[in-house]
């Protein structure tokens, strides 16, 4: 039984990854999950300098999910290289670093700093965070802007790059094609969906940022649809995410066209979710006598 997946020349022991921003750099959840068991740890977004993030409240629950407006608080690349990379090196899992920035130069700086770090297998470029005012999402909502930043980063990156796409667009296939045309090695989607919640008793927005990114099981059908559309529009591999809670969800994303999947908000609900999904996928393969997991990728036409 083969659960190995290959993306842009990188082999993952299984398709189960962590969605950026929900798993730190793995330290906090290593108390719950054996990180060696995961296909990859995708880190919290890291910028060239520390970012303080948004004011609180930063998180609120909504029906079947949550909104967050953390604002990419992170310690910057220096601390990340000194602390987080050595921590992750101890484990037999692939490391994908999520890179964020306010300008193209910010992204380039982080990409170049990581270029000679062999422990980093891939870079995921965050051009889709809805919670920061400058940069990020601005690069991810117009196909031409997405093309330009992808093209520029490909000139500097030594590792393969994954462009993380926003669902807050009219045509996800157009965005997927733009990233592919500019040389992206893979895509990941969906980032969170912009939402809003109002506290009717206090007559206030639930989040200090007013809007936040929605995640959780309630967004899963939207994510499955977008993964299907994006993966059928391009030839490069797609990493699917959005409300995945169980192995059944993971398999659904793979059948829609995802080569791998990430678990996000559900880590907060079930800190063992990633590990259980690895086991659940194997159980599904035994049940349906699937020898190679790759065979189910995009199997529903």
């Amino acid at each position: 039984m083969n659960t190995q997946i290959e993306i842009a020349g990188v082999t993952f022991k299984n398709p189960v990854m962590t969605a950026s921003g929900t798993f730190g750099s793995g330290m906090e959840y290593s108390e719950f999950v054996d990180l060696n068991k995961l296909g990859a740890v995708v880190t919290k977004g890291v910028a060239n300098v520390p970012w303080p993030g948004n004011p609180t409240p930063r998180v609120t629950e909504v029906y079947g999910g949550m909104l967050n407006a953390i604002g990419l608080q992170n310690p910057g690349i220096d601390v990340f290289m000194e602390r987080d990379i050595p921590f992750l090196k101890k484990y037999d899992t692939k490391v994908i670093v999520n890179v964020c920035g306010k300008t193209v130069e910010d992204y380039v700086e982080v990409v170049e700093r990581l270029a000679d770090e062999p422990a980093v297998a891939m870079l995921e470029i965050n051009v889709s965070c809805p919670n920061v005012k400058e940069g990020a999402i601005a690069f991810g909502q117009k196909a031409c802007a997405l093309y330009d930043i992808t093209d520029e980063l490909k000139k500097h990156a030594k590792q393969p790059i994954i462009m993380k796409l926003s669902p807050n667009v009219t045509d996800i296939a157009e965005m997927a094609k733009a990233a592919e045309a500019a040389g992206a090695d893979a895509l990941s989607l969906i980032n969170t969906i912009t939402g809003m919640k109002i506290d009717i008793h206090r007559r206030r927005f639930a989040l200090a940022n007013k809007t936040g990114g929605m995640s959780g099981p309630a967004i899963k059908p939207i994510a499955v649809r977008m993964v299907y559309q994006a993966s059928h529009a391009v030839k490069i591999p797609v990493i699917g995410m959005g409300g995945i809670a169980t192995a059944d969800d993971a398999i659904e994303f793979m059948m829609a066209g995802a080569s791998a999947i990430s678990v996000g908000a559900m880590n907060f609900v079930n800190p063992y979710a990633t590990s259980e999904i690895v086991d659940g996928i194997e159980a599904y393969m035994r049940q349906y006598k699937i020898n190679d997991l790759k065979d189910i990728i995009g199997c529903v036409e």
Binding site: Y29, G64, I70, N267, P271
Partner: protein, 256 residues
């Protein structure tokens, strides 16, 4: 070691309007200490996230936790319906707890305001100082007052003046001419701000337990931060995580 685990409800009763008192048998009690909290999961799948609830009391034999909480929304409303023998999923134990050793042999204020009163019970049990316990309530519904009286001298303040000093816990300190060398407190933000100011004026230490909307409860999501005077050790941006670096902070260290 933190874990998500099933607990069994031993008992539950309403001890004041919308305030519930629940004992849960759980292995988490083994490692729990005063001032820590647990995440309690609702069963309704439309409500996903763990509700952070402070530990009110730890059973002597370390097999059960007492949670006293107020109904604040759908999750806590669901918890209030739990009966003896029902199971409930818990994440814990979370947070750092009160540094009660700081109070050994000293005069101490243990201050609780409203739904910040519950964690002061285990704190009072475990604290070795000369204990003056200040409790702030809205009205004459004096939940946990009898429990706390076993462990120190209790002074009550009520907003409506129906019992004790009319006003808040700071008014009760002034009215009774009380003094302390160290403070442990949990309660609403205006109360904690007043305590921070008071402790600075008196030149004494105050350890305050903070609250914020949380998602993960384990320090990963960075949802529940508080501004700090010094650069924090995790993100290096003067934002400490209340769930893991707290919930108890030296009042000097946080900008509230």
């Amino acid at each position: 070691m933190k874990q998500k685990t099933k607990g069994i409800v031993l008992s539950q009763k309403e001890i004041a309007p919308d305030i519930y008192d629940m004992w849960i048998e759980t292995s988490l009690a083994k490692e729990a200490c005063a001032g820590q909290f647990v995440g309690v999961f609702p069963k309704d799948k439309s409500t996903l996230l763990p509700r952070p609830i402070s530990i009110c009391e730890i059973k002597e034999d370390k097999t059960a936790l007492r949670l006293v909480y107020r109904i604040a929304g759908a999750g806590t409303a669901e918890f209030s319906k739990l009966c003896e023998k029902d199971t409930v999923e818990l994440l814990g134990v979370l947070g750092n707890g009160f540094p009660l050793k700081e109070a050994e042999g000293k005069k101490v204020f243990l201050i609780g305001g409203g739904i910040g009163i519950p964690p002061m019970l285990q704190s009072a049990k475990d604290c070795d100082g000369d204990k003056q316990i200040l409790l702030g309530y809205r009205d004459g519904q004096l939940f946990l007052k009898n429990d706390l009286e076993q462990y120190g001298t209790v002074y009550v303040a009520t907003e409506d003046g129906s019992v004790g000093t009319k006003g808040n816990v700071m008014d009760a300190i002034a009215a009774n001419n009380l003094k302390a060398d160290v403070i442990f407190a949990c309660g609403p933000m205006p109360m904690l701000r007043a305590i921070k100011k008071y402790a600075a004026e008196q030149g004494i230490k105050a350890y305050i337990s903070l609250e914020e909307h949380m998602a993960c409860g384990v320090g990963a999501c960075l949802g529940c931060v508080v501004k700090t005077k010094e650069i924090d050790h995790h993100s290096h941006v003067n934002n400490a995580r209340i769930c893991t670096d707290g919930p108890v902070f030296d009042a000097d260290d946080v900008e509230i």
